[in-house]
Symmetry: C2
DNA sequence: TACCCTGTTGAACGCAGTTCAATGATATGT
DNA sequence: ACATATCATTGAACTGCGTTCAACAGGGTA
């Protein structure tokens, strides 16, 4: 048993994750460089590869944590939300927006790692995604009680994707000129309008 | 006057754009490599830099053409659409989806080039985007005649972003399991539900 | 034709991620 | 406690990328 070694590895692992997390948050995924990382962590470049398969593995680990924080924020928003299911959707979506705005580069990193074609998404990703979807589908089931679960699943995905799209393009300064308030406004507009329908 | 030289440059320019277009379409933006490009075009690597500032310039040129084709597809869909403004929105959004699906990597490249922070989006980008927005806001103005132009602009952006989000996440095989039909279904669901509201 | 000038070339540079032979530390058996 | 085998760690070196620039070649002009 390599107790001492395992401990050291665990420590290095933690240190690398923390540094990578800060680097990505401050300067984005592209600023994650092996040599800089090793320099900051006080280890050799090769040591990184003893602990992570490659830099993408490290970035994915950071992403898992980011996604978890995101989920926690949305959950908290839901916990403090009014009873009305439409308002619950709005509050959660705006929490999603707030998280994306306040953790812009970390949030971008969630989607900027390209998987090799055919490669499945990591487990934690699907799991966290499923959690988010549950938060959405519960109020939706109240709003649309007569729809079956397959339809609700589609509605859930459609609404999540819509909000994601609004936040994504809204935060992209390229197409410039969308204020935070306007993004929240668009979110509320789409969700309320969507749920207000008699059907 | 360097007529002969200018002609050669123009020819090289065209050749590079065509090769780059095919490369991006087949293997994505990351497959665009200076040496491969030079090899295929039968020129020196340095020659690329006589004609384009850098590879990003070339990729942006390809993007401009892709965006233009996209706009043309949407315009054609609108031209053949029924009179009903809601159906016009649906038809256009599904044309957007069809283009993205059939030109997946080229379409991805539109959004995968990261600009340096603070750098404005290119002119053609804003122009094509504006064109797309016009296609959307016209039917919207019919659907919501009492809204002022600022509100319509926000609605337009919100709907475009929503459809974009649905297509983006739908085509991402990672979250797997969204068929083409389901994507079209989600688009129609969101747009019809949105426009059906009495308000 | 001779000569300048400008377009073109591709080897070389800088900077990434990743590897692996050499080194050093650790755990085990006596 | 020591010797020794085993395994972790190191960082120089390798590969592959975009980009540059001194040297070269070929076209335009007198």
């Amino acid at each position: 048993m390599a107790t001492k070694t395992e401990l050291r590895r665990q420590e290095l692992r933690d240190k690398l994750v923390i540094i990578a997390e800060r680097t990505i948050a401050q300067d984005g995924l592209t600023a994650l460089r092996a040599r800089d990382l090793a320099g900051e962590a006080g280890c050799a470049v090769g040591a990184i590869y003893n602990v992570f398969g490659d830099l993408t593995d490290l970035a994915l680990t950071v992403n898992a944590r980011t996604f978890h924080r995101l989920g926690a924020d949305v959950a908290e928003a839901l916990a403090n939300a009014p009873e009305d299911p439409v308002e619950q959707l709005v509050v959660m979506a705006q929490a999603y927006h707030a998280f994306a705005a306040q953790n812009h580069l970390s949030w971008r990193a969630l989607f900027d790692i390209e998987r090799a074609p055919g490669e499945a998404a990591p487990d934690w990703y699907l799991q966290e995604m499923g959690q988010l979807f549950t938060y959405i589908s519960d109020p939706l089931a109240v709003i649309f009680p007569e729809r079956d679960s397959a339809e609700l699943a589609l509605l859930t995905r459609a609404l999540f994707s819509s909000v994601h799209g609004i936040v994504l393009l809204g935060l992209d300064e390229a197409s410039a000129g969308v204020s935070t308030e306007n993004i929240d406004h668009m979110i509320a507009l789409v969700l309320r309008q969507f749920a207000a329908s008699p059907k």
